[in-house]
Symmetry: D2
Subunit: 423 residues, 4 copies
């Protein structure tokens, strides 16, 4: 978690402002919605990201700091047991108070106080490094909540019988990409985990060696059109393709298609998007499928999901984003940094399910204190996703980033890419 | 359901305006809250009472009428199976759309259209009587929702960790009333049910004779102070006093006191009110107790709850409201119409649990069509409450009114009055 | 509860033996089954009826009595809070110990001890009357469990994929009775409740007057054939006929027909019986329908269920059992005691749902102590059934007997008889 | 899955007889118990292991074979979707039919038929190898159910309020072993998975290389005494030590100690065993702890659980069983085959939780057809346990065996051994 962005204050201000900009298109009525236990209301995200800076930066390090309102700790603590009791996660939609104006005022005051603290930091101050590291962590934390805010809002608005659009539709030119190809990737001893040179979370460390067999990886993500073929073949009604837990999930929820898909009444499919309900575009990567669905599709295809190690190894030197730029370390270039084979869209397109459980890397150590709850305590029952999605903040996407969700969850922007054994 | 208010249009406009006046003190953020399945968001009440007039008055009887928005039927139908599918009751809190401004605009347009329809009614029109009867029913329906709006709001705001006040506190002079006395009431063959001379619901009919034994009724409702004595005596921990279902309810919910009560840390009790958290006032009638609690208290007291027949009979000629006025038929007087013994506050203080199941009167006939669902289909598993409460619209309170809730429910303003057998 | 059977000891021995005789046709493997929370295993019934005599008769009144096994109180207490903690009702199927041989040995020892106590009773003994009254109560209690044992066994064996028969089929001659007729019954002030002259439960007292309007009652119960017409008319898919709770119950459980009915694949119906699966006999009374189904059928028929008062009044002088004998007071005769109109089979055919909630009679007093839990604490949420069924012990059936179940329950042998208002 | 035991028929008969021998000490009343959804009744295990041979060996390969009873497929299929519908897993305790005598007769007939089929096999028969492989699989399958039968029985009998013993107590000499030591284990590229030379399941294949860092492993399992120290230190009340899911599990179930432990009233602990309730023996390995508890204990200890790769690597050459013999390949020796450091009791003591998710080995291929459901479809949400326990059939224990359970489950005989990073 060492290196810091060159200008921490500027990045802090940028990220704080971007959170509020994400509210565009929403009504005040939308700010308190929680249509299912997994999602949080937009206003709660605004408050929680502020609570994070107040609790972990201002109160311990700003002389004389007092809470904006001592009761907000209960309201906006997410899951930090060490920080005391809190509003139950599934009941965040009950909150109308503090109201929007108060939360925004608290945001502004907190932002200002953090900037003041940063500006006043003396490099000789023994806490200076810790303060900067915590602000940096808070920035990344807020980036994560920006993505959550969008995916939660999509779930909340899809739950409206009126199915509103909340974004102005970007003009869409139907794209027709090249066919999927299998790209062979060498095995051997490869280094996994973050190498330094930018921020990373504790779960990306320590960097360590792993032995991989050679494998093949699909040159692009599974498309909505390919998924429709799986549906047409009765894929959701045939237990052969499914993990036992996945089959139970399909039956309990009467799952029949990716989330947000619905029949158009003429044999085709519609999909709810931030621009309203549209026909499914067959060349788009399929999105909002669960890990169970991804596994079943892979089995039906005679392929498999990659492991997170395979994915990370394959992405090295091939980290082309969806818009054609390439990632080298943590900077983006218009051309590939090395001449790897053409694997498209591994960064910033959809979160790609891997067949890896979310577990600690060998030698993993969580941070001390409450911040140690950030990642480590969730290391059971979840699967790793890699790559980032269309609504991930661009400066938040990197090859070593380990996202994680339960295999039944599909309100994130999650899809998949197939892999295959060689020989 | 025959006689109509003298000036239907005036009453319609008054009631519609009163609904909106009830929103005073609430924030826009509060308008969508549903903190438990039994309650509905304020905005939903605004829309539902509008949907009622649009669906049952305007669309069938106003030439050329079209729905304000055809999708609102799904959103705002409460439980009318004959009117088609609808938003699940427990998911009304998911609704942010239509937004507040749209709902208010719909209210205004609907109010105006109903007034226009009423004004244009020709007495020769074969539908005139039906239209007026339906408007009258819609008015009473909206009165019921006014009370619901207040009790639901209390539950919603009590669920806030910030426990906000939303009404300006009326200055409270501590009152110390006369002690409770037992008033003996004659038995015999008595007439039960509405006698005409004003609006009533179908469930108050037909008026019919019932044979009652003489009994004694308490001169006032059970007070908070008396309830505290029940608590001090371990009443919530002793199964002897409880119905079997009630005891299961106490244990499953770890119920320890009336709803909204909490310990003050020094042996006393606090209570959440629209004015915020206050000490319990011992002479106030206890309120927000379930039917199970009412039964247990009565058993502990060596008394019982009255039946609804006893209650209605006792209230005849003794219908003094909480503020000292008396009800005769459906008008209020400063002095008792007849010289009955002093039973205080039977109307408009708290809803009083009776020991009567909510069942049809002999010869009961529900209305035809969807409006037949108004009362009759709920005649199982509920108990009758009588008398009206502090937030019941004054012109909505009458001796024959049959309110009904499940015996575990206590978010209404419900209390109790004891009865006793003679001999 | 005063008068006692002429020879208490003989009746005691007869009833104890009859319980064990009911096990005929069952295997030891069947003795522990509890296929749903409402039913109890046969072995548990054997033990519980023994615990009742040990707890309420032997331990308090037999000098030097000690429990057969002190741990059995936990195992076999049903719901008596005053007697301490107990095996949860829904977990009775977990019990394999005490085993069958031990339970039978306990039964034998308890039976012998009670007989010894009764024989040694001196009329001068101040406890003599109490002992005899408790034995008499225990006998009636065991009669109730005999019926439960049969209806529970039917549920348990119907839950077997092998659908076994456990009774030798009595030869069945298809019967074709007279058509249903409406019998007019006078109203007026009638006495309700037990008049003395035999055992009754506390809930049948006190006898009191009730005012009834005249009504008509069907001369026989609704038949399976009539029910099939309701099914053919889509009765289970039309919310118009159903109480709101009933409609929710139908949808939640996907209820499509009476319990134990299944399609025969050719448009007809089969039914599981103690003799195995058989075609439904159209002239038999329909049985195993819930109160909700009974209400819906009555609504569809344009009729209603009788109240328990109407039923009891109508049965006076018309109490012909299913086999053609007649009940006068509590004795059976081959001819009607009075010349009432022909209402068939009101006693001992099926339990008939009434439209009365199970509530205390005016002036009701439960017994003191633990035995006061016998009836009174269940007086919420249940409906009254009258008449007794084919598996009710013949000496247990009487006109004033108030059986009660929740309106969704249908594993008892419950059916219905229609009523109608006159005028 | 290739090599077969030298004398397949003899092993088949031995294993079949051993299953029935495990019933010793149980009553017929115990045979149908299912006290929680995870366990199955003993009789069901008897039938299911028979169904396996009938379904996968006799019906496809014995000319003219017909099912013993065609309805048994529904009753005794466990989870094979390809074999059709079945009794729901959680409802196996509802089964009294087929009865015990019938199931035992079916067992005998099936055993005899399999022996006849094996004896008549001609090596030239193209199916011979498949038949033998399936019988070998059926034998291992029945070995697994032997262990399940014992652990399920323990749960079933512990659920009896009478807490019966069902095994004669072996005389216990209190043992006091050497203190736990840390044994350092080399890293490097190591081969994981079964090497041939005996039966293995598909999930132990393919053998493949893995890169391990050096680590330290505890010389023995965590003891009950060490666990008591964790309890004394408030380990179950401190969220610091727990995974988030584990903490939720502790709170939801009010978990306070290992399963089957209870307070002795004087500060010590008792434990339910097959010999009845006994004091906890501090030097015994702790058993019946969940994966969550194991993780929490490891965190509290400042250590961690080993991965399944580390465990398998460490056990090579150190596979001493609990009784002092050593495993080499799949044979047992009185002395260690190689001079590894002393790691005690890695085989046949308790199942040891590892920090590895149950996932396919690289290149894993499930068997074709219904038997492909044996292992692969459970590869989500479960953790791997290694080593075998005291009730695992001795010939069923091997270094590469991958057992798996959900991290909240603890009715198996599961404990843990700590590991530690070096450096």
């Amino acid at each position: 978690m060492t290196p810091l962005p060159p200008d921490l204050t500027a990045r802090f201000l940028t990220v704080r402002a971007r959170t509020e900009a994400l509210l565009e298109g929403l009504l005040l009525e939308d700010m308190g919605l929680q249509s299912e236990p997994d999602v949080s209301p937009p206003r709660w995200h605004l408050g929680h990201t502020t609570w994070f800076f107040e609790t972990f930066v201002l109160l311990p390090y700003l002389r004389g700091a007092v809470p904006f309102d001592a009761r907000f700790g209960f309201v906006f603590n997410s899951y930090y047991e060490a920080e005391g009791p809190r509003q139950p996660r599934a009941r965040r939609g009950d909150l109308s108070r503090p109201d929007q104006a108060t939360v925004l005022a608290w945001r502004a005051a907190t932002t200002e106080a953090v900037v003041g603290l940063l500006r006043g930091l003396d490099d000789d101050d023994p806490d200076a490094a810790t303060v900067r590291a915590r602000v940096a962590l808070g920035i990344e934390h807020e980036c994560q909540h920006q993505e959550l805010l969008v995916m939660d809002t999509k779930a909340n608005l899809a739950a409206q019988p009126l199915q509103p659009a909340w974004r102005t539709a970007a003009p869409r030119s139907p794209t027709r990409g090249p066919e999927t190809a299998w790209v062979e990737v060498d095995g051997g001893i490869v280094a996994i985990g973050h190498a330094g040179g930018g921020f990373c979370f504790d779960n990306e460390l320590p960097r360590h060696d792993v032995l991989l067999a050679p494998f093949a990886l699909a040159s692009r993500c599974v498309t909505a059109g390919e998924w429709a073929a799986f549906l047409d073949d009765g894929g959701y009604r045939d237990p052969r393709w499914w993990l036992s837990d996945g089959w139970a999930w399909v039956q309990a929820g009467d799952v029949q298609a990716p989330r947000y898909w619905s029949r158009d009444g003429e044999g085709g499919w519609l999909v709810y998007t931030p621009h309203g309900v549209e026909p499914v575009a067959p060349d788009d990567p399929v999105v909002h499928v669960s890990g169970y669905e991804a596994e079943a599709f892979a089995a039906w295809s005679g392929a498999r999901l990659p492991t997170e190690h395979e994915w990370e190894h394959a992405a090295a030197g091939r980290d082309r984003s969806g818009d054609g730029t390439w990632l080298d370390g943590d900077r983006w270039h218009p051309a590939p940094p090395t001449a790897g084979p053409g694997v498209r869209g591994m960064l910033g397109t959809v979160w790609e399910w891997t067949r890896s459980a979310y577990l600690p890397y060998p030698g993993y150590r969580p941070a001390p204190g409450a911040l140690g709850e950030y990642n480590g305590k969730f290391m059971s029952g979840q699967w790793v996703l890699r790559g980032g999605c269309c609504v991930s903040p661009r400066d938040h996407v990197r090859r070593t980033y380990r996202n994680f969700f339960h295999p039944h969850q599909r309100w994130p922007f999650c899809g998949l890419r197939l892999a295959r054994d060689l020989t």
